[in-house]
Symmetry: C2
Subunit: 308 residues, 2 copies
């Protein structure tokens, strides 16, 4: 148990990230009252059935009333509308943050609505799975993962530190970054991989020469790895593509350029070039494992997991 960091916390949106936050806030005892709000009655009922919070409401204004910390966990395309809706109900001195995968767009959408008497501090925990909804969350999701805060110039440093302590209490490691740089970094480490995964699964789905059932039967030879990212929430990923367009298009251009050169090496049978390209990628995974960002087990630990 950590200490009470905020008398009342409001979570707007209770999907994978929101419900994981609810679970770790409860486990660590970080608040005296956890208010949960989401647009859909069905999702709200699910959150209540899972006992994720202390109060539940469809209107986010009820949840943020008197809340000292408000965390918005909705698809990035909805953050502006939510900000506009909750603004009048926000408590003076409250910290308002989010978990969106794009920051420049979220800031552009939310900041105009934020009253001067609150601390608006955008954030992004680098954690997740391919699952969605309140039942998919778990308290360990943020353990050892990085959370990036992108505070705006002039933000109260004490408020930034307070939000940082909250994420650390949730198990996160903390970073701060310029919003535009965040969007470039995420475009390569998260957005491009998801887009490529969605694309290759789509390509395999559309072939005439190879049947769908063949793709599924033999997927253990590599293809199945891509289907995990491609099983992520379509609304979340549609919004990310719409709201981090420039950085994503830049990374896509680099990727396609490199792929054309690899394709040329295959066409011309340039074995030395292929060997060189396939060699220097190996160290990257080793570094990720050493950085504690990946399990040190073959095949993502699939074999080990099935032994449980």
């Amino acid at each position: 148990m950590s200490e009470i960091l905020f008398e009342k916390i409001a979570l707007i949106g209770i999907g994978l990230i929101g419900s994981s936050l609810a679970r770790v806030i409860r486990r660590e005892g970080l608040t005296n009252h956890l208010a949960i709000s989401t647009r859909s009655q069905a999702t709200l009922d699910e959150a209540r059935a899972l006992h994720l919070g202390d109060s539940y409401c469809l209107d986010p204004r009820d949840a943020v009333h008197d809340a000292d910390l408000v965390i918005i966990s909705v698809p990035v395309g909805s953050s502006g509308a939510v900000a506009e809706q909750i603004a009048p109900a926000l408590k003076p001195g409250a910290i308002v943050s989010d978990v969106g995968s794009t920051k420049a767009s979220v800031i552009a959408q939310m900041q105009p609505h934020m009253p001067d008497h609150v601390h608006f501090i955008p954030g992004h925990p680098i954690a997740g799975t391919e699952k969605s909804g309140p039942a998919a969350g778990f308290a360990e999701l943020f353990q050892g993962r990085w959370c990036i805060l992108t505070p705006l110039p002039g933000t109260d440093q004490a408020a930034v530190e307070r939000l940082g302590r909250f994420w650390e209490a949730c198990g996160s490691r903390l970073d701060t970054m310029d919003p535009n740089h965040h969007d470039k970094v995420l475009a390569i480490v998260s957005h491009l991989p998801h887009i490529i995964a969605y694309n290759i699964v789509g390509t395999a789905d559309d072939l005439e020469t190879v049947t769908q059932s063949e793709v599924i039967k033999y997927s253990a030879s590599g293809f199945r790895d891509f289907t995990r990212l491609a099983a992520s929430d379509p609304v979340m990923w549609r919004d990310i593509c719409l709201h981090n367009k420039d950085a994503i298009l830049e990374m896509l251009a680099r990727f396609s350029e490199d792929l054309a050169s690899l394709q040329r090496a295959i066409r011309w049978g340039d074995g030395d070039k292929l060997f060189e390209m396939f060699t220097h990628t190996r160290d990257v995974r080793r570094s990720i494992i050493e950085a504690g960002q990946e399990v040190d087990l073959p095949d993502f630990g699939r074999q080990a997991a099935t032994k449980n």
Copy 2:
């Protein structure tokens, strides 16, 4: 324990696949003598230290002498040279097979050297991890995975059935396929995914705007998934690219075409098209899990594996 299927089995090549075969052959008691041969003294010593077989030799001719089943597990580019080398020493009536990821090229390389008095039956177990070498193998590797045999016209059916029983005793599910169709199927389910993974890891490695350490720190947001395939054996994958060129180039063209259309949807902010593209890919993973080819756990069971 299954019954003795072959009095003597020779494994040429003792990497991930060869050493996994050795372990399951030993566990199931499928032979009275398991002979192991590999080019490198160091690898041979490693296999001996791991007690993978009954005899060990650098010269594959010594291993195949009197062997009733010979399985060649080497990079596909070396299968012709191995076939030529062992041909004079093969026992009449012996079954000679391989585990290569490309079949048309392996057949073209090996068949000319195969004496009429042996049964040459190409094969490919659809199983593996990103690890290489004798220490990386494990007896369960083939459990529930498919093994594809691509027998040539006029092959003795009894011999094909005997090889099939061997793979079933190793835990595999069995399929037969035309070699050229196999190469198209593998191009999409295995070769394209590996090439794309190698490429995206390469792209991330070459950026000026995002540092290597940022890519590693934040890789849990998607990128790390690709580093597994991109950590596979470079020689094996160089050879696959050189020996399944046409099918791979065909799949790369389809992939790039689809990616261009996805890129266009991002550029023009076509949210409906993006949503549609990101929706119909979800069922594919579900089908793979239902087919028993993927663990039914979020995040490949990484979380579950670390709980061991």
